[in-house]
């Protein structure tokens, strides 16, 4: 035995542990780990059915009534088979209507009758209060068995056991059962604590059972065999045999047990109200029966052992404590005590919690409506509930105290079961019978409760001595038929069966009659339909979970409706899309919810075609759901509603909100879809463009890398940025970095072929390219090693991000130019050869004329001693003309013999024509008449003078040949050779014919003849090298090829017009020189012979020239000093530089050239005046000296007029 204080401490510790467990379970709910939302916890919490009446009373019952106690547990085991029809339906109704108690359920079914709810609440209060008292009795009795009284102090803690237990129960119940107003009335912490208590009591009972059976005895067989011996020896009447149990009692207890599992308030609360998921029922169906089986396994052995051990039968309830105490096992005793305490505590807490809800909702609140003065208490519902909890528990305790010593309490258990049984007709009728109505329920419950009170409760109180026994013996007012224990003369039934029989008979009868005779209200009918309409949960659960609806069949049904609007093909397509939208593509069988999704998707898609109203009608007309499926869908949505823990109104609001949100989002999605499509198109286009760009870049890369032409990128006015491999090779660099960061000028000589400085010309080319977008020109480059090459350059402007650059394509044309020059040289040689023959002939004629005249003069002088002065002048004139002719011939030869170097200079085409005409007159056949035409203004072009003369001369030669040697044998030679110039501005017609024509004006140098002409075919080939129409040996075919190349080098072009027999006109287009500033006067003729005076120094290595010059100058009045070389001239100049007015200086002298002599003289006297004379028409040295200060240039041979005029001009200009 343990002292009372220890037991109290154990109780407090145990309650504290339960408190922690319940608190932990409550706190886990917000985190999503809902510990009570668990099938095992749910199943164990149902074991609240096994109260202290199970723990202690079963053993007591087994000791006195054999197996009758089993009916209380076998009954529920059989009832559990019907759970799928009954319990699941109750749970679903609870979820739909948010039922929070059994009274609430009954009221909800029958017109939400407050009267009915209040009646049920009172019935439960009356029926269950004694049951609570029974629990207190068990705990107090157990405490008294266990605890050693503390003596000597006058204070016995065991006197306050009940009060302490009451306080603990009230506190725990309020903290975990009524802490807040939960709309779902679910109390996770409390349920979890009850489940833990169920484990404790099972373990405790099994422990004592195993101890007694296998430790005290040797198993169940040993217990029974020893009992047989004991029973045989015992003289006491032993009711503990099966034949003492009446069928009626057995059956009644069985029925009460079957109904108690449904209708006991605490059972209803745990199994229905506290249920979190219908799925948990499946686990509870086997776990709870197993629990009951195990906890009852050792009840009979314990009872038999207790009896065999001599324990008093009247204390059989406490055998579970006495036996371990008897064997000195205090810990086992304590464990068993805790087991019994758990059994009692769980029942008290759950019952008081649910009863407080019912009392508050169905008694107190309606009273507050009835008593307006107490209306303020409506705001204190929670506190009212706390008071209700305390009231129920205190009332139960008081009941126990009032009936502590009587046997009444023991019987109260089964009588409470009978009270709970009265709810069976209205609840079972409520969920299976539509006709069941409020009147029937009121009548049935009223009759049943009244009969229960009269036949069961009243006799119990009478036997307790509370009420006089007269009623029991002879009935009220002496009416025998109304005797409580043999109502209407029914005898033979034991007490409980009799009371149960009459109460349930009248209950059921009044319920049925009342429901049939009286009609339901409209609300009642709707509720009845809703309650009864919920289909068999087991089937609906399975079909909702497993998918038993044939999707194809439903599809076909829908198709027949949809095709009326869309046609067969489009209907199929729409339905396939709806199936895909619902995620049912691979499914054959679907659940009702999935079917609803499919219908909803179809309606949405169809609405897009025919409108929402028509789509809705179509779906409705398709009649997609059978009655069963509609019910399942309603059940499914009810479940959802319950799980959401919101009312239907709140759900509707939420649905409306989300529908509106969905509409807006759908509209937004449509708008976005367009944008997405547009973006996709842009992306596709961009990808295409990027692909093209990549292709283009690849092409350029290949072109850039492998091109034979040099390709470079130039920063205008600055350096090269990039260069390809061809450029690196062409410019003689080792790598790209040698080329980049350098400018084009770094790779150019000082001046170009046309005489322009490279730096200035480069700027001009860049400017033209930047302005016009591109520019094509020729350029002379110089490599780092000093070698030069010619190239054509195409500069193209390129716009890059952030800057403009020039793209340069450079092509090496050195070989071509060399070939052209060789071609020209070859042609020149040919021309020289042609002209040399002619010139030689003419030169001999000239020499012949001079020699003949001179011999004549000599002869006359010898013969006559003198020559007539008139005759002498004639002879001198002849020799002079001959000399001029000879001079012209020399000039031609010089022109032709010089190597091809383009020395561009301003050239007046009029003078070119004049000069060529002079040559042509000497070389052309006399039958050809020359007809030159000149412009009044200078026809200035930038050209190489000798080249242009050669071009014109060649054309003249060809023209002459067409009028002479190319004519037939019988055709007379001769014709007219015309030369002219004309200035034109290119028009579109010209540009279309000659794309090379630029924008600026051109001078046309025209050569036309009246010769044999050419066919169009011949015209197309005349510029081809080696093409000739002349007889063999009379032409090399290089002349016009040279002409073509020369003209191209001058940026000009040719135009040939001819027809056979009508002659030919060749027009040479040369660009007009833009800057018509001063040009060299080459060989300008002046006819006057001005005289003067002063000292003239003549420097010439040729004696004849010295003497001739001296004679001319002295004739003009000047004094002349002579020097035959540069050094002598220098010596003279040093001595006489103050007196010397002009120096006549020959360019080409041995030892010291004219150039050297000039520079040295200039050092002596910077102001010296010099006339430079030379046989060369134009020379770089001449140009240089003219730039350095030489005043005049005279070409040899010069006349007296020319020399005198030049000297006079110089001296006059000082």
């Amino acid at each position: 035995m343990l002292d009372a204080l220890t037991i109290f401490l154990v109780i407090c510790i145990y309650i504290g542990l339960l408190f922690l467990v319940a608190n932990w379970a409550d706190r886990s709910r917000p985190t999503g780990r809902n510990l009570a939302n668990n099938a095992v916890v749910y199943s164990l919490s149902l074991a609240v059915y096994c109260t202290s009446w199970t723990f202690y009373g079963s053993v007591g019952n087994a000791a006195t009534s054999s197996f009758l106690f089993l009916t209380i547990y076998i009954g529920p085991t059989l009832s559990i088979i019907l759970w799928d029809w009954v319990l699941v339906k109750l749970i679903k109704i609870k979820q739909s209507y948010r039922i929070n108690s059994i009274a609430d359920f009954i009221a909800a079914r029958y017109d939400r009758s407050q009267l009915l709810a209040a009646m049920v609440t009172l019935m439960i209060f009356v029926g269950m209060a004694p049951y609570i008292a029974l629990q207190f009795k068990a705990v107090i009795a157990a405490f008294e068995v266990l605890a050693i009284p503390v003596v000597g102090t006058g204070f016995s803690i065991s006197d306050y056991t009940g009060q302490v237990i009451v306080v603990l129960m009230i506190t725990f119940t309020i903290m975990f059962g009524v802490r807040k107003l939960d709309p779902t009335e679910r109390h996770q912490g409390m349920v979890f604590a009850v489940a833990v208590e169920s484990i404790v009591k099972l373990v405790a009972f099994l422990a004592i059972g195993i101890f007694v059976t296998y430790f005290v005895f040797n198993g169940i067989g040993d217990v029974f065999s020893q009992w047989s011996d004991y029973a045989g020896r015992s003289t006491d009447p032993n009711p503990n045999t099966p034949e003492n149990i009446s069928f009626a009692t057995w059956l009644t207890y069985l029925l009460l047990g079957m109904s108690a599992i449904f209708f006991l308030p605490r059972q209803f609360h745990i199994s229905v109200v506290e249920n979190a998921s219908v799925e948990h029922v499946k686990t509870a169906k086997w776990l709870f029966p197993l629990y009951m089986f195990l906890i009852n396994l050792f009840v009979l052995p314990i009872a038999l052992v207790g009896l065999m051990k001599g324990l008093p039968e009247k204390h059989a309830d406490m055998f579970v404590l006495y036996l371990p105490l008897q064997f000195g096992d205090d810990w086992l005793t304590l464990l068993v005590f805790l087991g019994g305490f758990s059994a009692a505590a769980s029942m008290i807490m759950i019952s008081s919690m649910t009863m407080s809800t019912m009392l508050t909702n169905h008694i107190l609140l309606p009273l507050l409506d009835f008593l307006p003065g107490l209306g303020f208490l409506r705001m204190q519902i929670l506190k009212l509930r706390w008071l209700a909890v305390a009231a129920v528990i205190l009332f139960g305790y008081w009941f126990e105290r009032a009936l502590a010593g009587s046997q009444t309490l023991v019987n109260m258990g089964i009588i409470s079961f009978a009270a709970a049984f009265q709810f069976a007709p209205c609840i079972i009728g409520g969920i299976f019978w539509r006709r069941g109505n409020l009147v029937g329920a009121l009548l049935g419950l009223g009759a049943g409760f009244a009969t229960w009170v009269y036949t069961l409760l009243l006799p119990t109180f009478i036997r307790s001595g509370w009420i006089a026994s007269q009623v029991l013996k002879s009935g009220p007012w002496g009416v025998e038929l109304l005797k409580p224990e043999s109502l209407f003369g029914l005898t033979g039934l034991p007490f409980v069966p009799h009371g149960v029989f009459w109460s349930i008979l009248l209950n059921l009868g009044c319920y049925i009659l009342g429901s049939i005779l009286f009609s339901s209200s409209k609300t009642g009918e709707e509720t009845a339909n809703a309650f009864v309409g919920l289909e068999t949960p087991m089937f609906s659960l399975e079909s909702a979970r497993d998918g038993k609806i044939d999707l194809e069949e439903k599809r076909q049904r829908l198709k027949s409706s949809v095709k009326r609007y869309l046609g067969l093909v489009r209907a199929d397509r729409l339905l396939d899309k709806a199936i895909e939208m619902s995620g049912l593509k691979e499914k054959q069988m679907v659940t009702v919810v999935e079917l609803m999704d499919f219908c909803s998707s179809t309606e949405k898609l169809l609405a897009g075609s025919i409108g929402t109203a028509a789509a809705y009608k179509t779906l409705k007309s398709a009649d997609m759901f059978t009655k069963q499926e509609s019910g399942e869908l309603t059940a499914a949505y009810s479940k959802i509603l319950a799980e959401l823990e919101i009312s239907p109104e709140e759900l509707k609001k939420s649905i409306d909100y989300h529908k509106e949100k969905e509409t807006l989002m759908a509209a937004h999605a449509d708008a976005l879809e367009g944008k997405v499509t547009e973006l996709q198109q842009q992306i596709t286009e961009r990808e295409r463009v990027e692909e093209e760009l990549r292709t283009s870049e690849e092409r350029y890369r290949v072109l850039y890398t492998f091109s034979k032409d040099a390709i470079m990128i130039i920063d205008p006015g600055k350096a090269y940025i990039n260069a390809n491999p061809a450029a690196i090779e062409l410019f003689g660099c080792r790598n790209e970095s040698d080329l980049t960061r350098k400018t084009p000028i770094d790779f150019s000589p000082l001046s170009q072929e046309d005489g322009q400085l490279s730096s200035l010309k480069e700027k001009e080319m860049v400017r033209l390219a930047m302005e016009n977008g591109s520019h094509y020109f020729k350029w002379k480059y110089q490599r780092p090693d000093g070698s030069e090459f010619f190239a054509t350059v195409l500069l193209t402007r390129m716009e890059l991000p952030g800057k403009t650059v020039l793209h340069a394509t450079v092509r090496d044309v050195t070989d071509r130019i060399k070939a052209d020059r060789e071609l020209i040289q070859a042609q020149k040689m040919e021309t020289v050869g042609t002209l040399a023959g002619g010139l030689a002939h003419d030169f001999n004629n000239v020499l012949g004329g001079i020699m003949a005249t001179l011999s004549l003069i000599s002869h006359k002088l010898k013969l006559r001693g003198g020559v007539d002065s008139q005759k002498l002048l004639e002879y001198i004139e002849v020799m002079t003309q001959s000399g001029v002719r000879a001079s012209d011939m020399i000039s031609q030869l010089l022109t032709l013999s010089r190597k091809q170097e383009l020395n561009f200079a301003p050239v007046d085409l009029n003078l070119t024509i004049k000069h060529v005409v002079k040559i042509a007159r000497n070389s052309c056949d006399k039958s050809v008449q020359l007809n030159p035409g000149y412009q009044t203004e200078p026809a200035m072009v930038m050209a190489d003078p000798s080249q242009i003369e050669r071009v014109l001369l060649n054309l003249c030669v060809n023209a002459e040949h067409s009028m002479t040697i190319m004519k037939g044998k019988d055709q007379p030679w001769g014709g007219i050779l015309s030369l002219s110039t004309e200035r034109i501005t290119p028009d579109d017609h010209l540009k279309s014919r000659y794309p090379e024509a630029g924008e600026s004006d051109y001078w046309i140098l025209s050569v036309s003849d009246t010769g044999v002409g050419m066919s169009a075919r011949t015209i197309g080939m005349i510029f081809d090298p080696f093409f000739t129409t002349k007889d063999k040996g009379k032409g090399t075919g290089l002349g016009l090829a040279m002409v073509y190349n020369s003209v191209r080098l001058h940026n000009g072009f040719l135009d040939v017009r001819s027809s056979e027999g009508a002659g030919t006109t060749v027009n040479v287009y040369l660009p007009v020189m833009q800057d018509q500033d001063k040009h060299l006067h080459v060989g300008a003729a002046d006819v006057s012979v001005p005289k003067g005076e002063g000292l003239i120094l003549v420097v010439d290595d040729e004696e004849l020239m010295r003497l001739a010059s001296r004679d001319i100058l002295e004739e003009c009045g000047y004094t002349v000093m002579l020097a035959e070389n540069g050094q002598e001239a220098l010596d003279i100049f040093r001595t006489h530089h103050g007196k010397i007015k002009v120096i006549l200086l020959d360019m080409a002298m041995p030892l010291m050239s004219g150039r050297e002599t000039y520079y040295k003289m200039k050092e002596i006297d910077p102001d010296l005046r010099v006339i430079l004379v030379s046989g060369l028409k134009t020379d770089v040295r001449v140009k240089e000296l003219l730039r350095e200060g030489i005043d005049v240039f005279l070409q040899k041979p010069f006349t007296i007029e020319t020399l005198a005029s030049a000297v006079h001009q110089l001296i006059a200009g000082e």
Partner: protein, 75 residues
Amino acid sequence: MRIRKVISILQSFLSRGEIQIVLFFMGFLLFTWPFLGTTFLSSIKGMYLYLYLVWGAIVMAHILAGIGSFLNKRD
């Protein structure tokens, strides 16, 4: 796998509504007279064995009907 298959077959058999109705009435009969009035059950031991065996069988039927789905959920 074989045990699971047997359990599955038994589970689907016992889960059928008709079988459950039969089980209920059969159980009700087994726990009332005339079965309980047989001579064999006149002894305590005999009654104990009968009641607990029949009860145990019904409990086992509950277990078989319910534990299949329990195991599937745990899988």
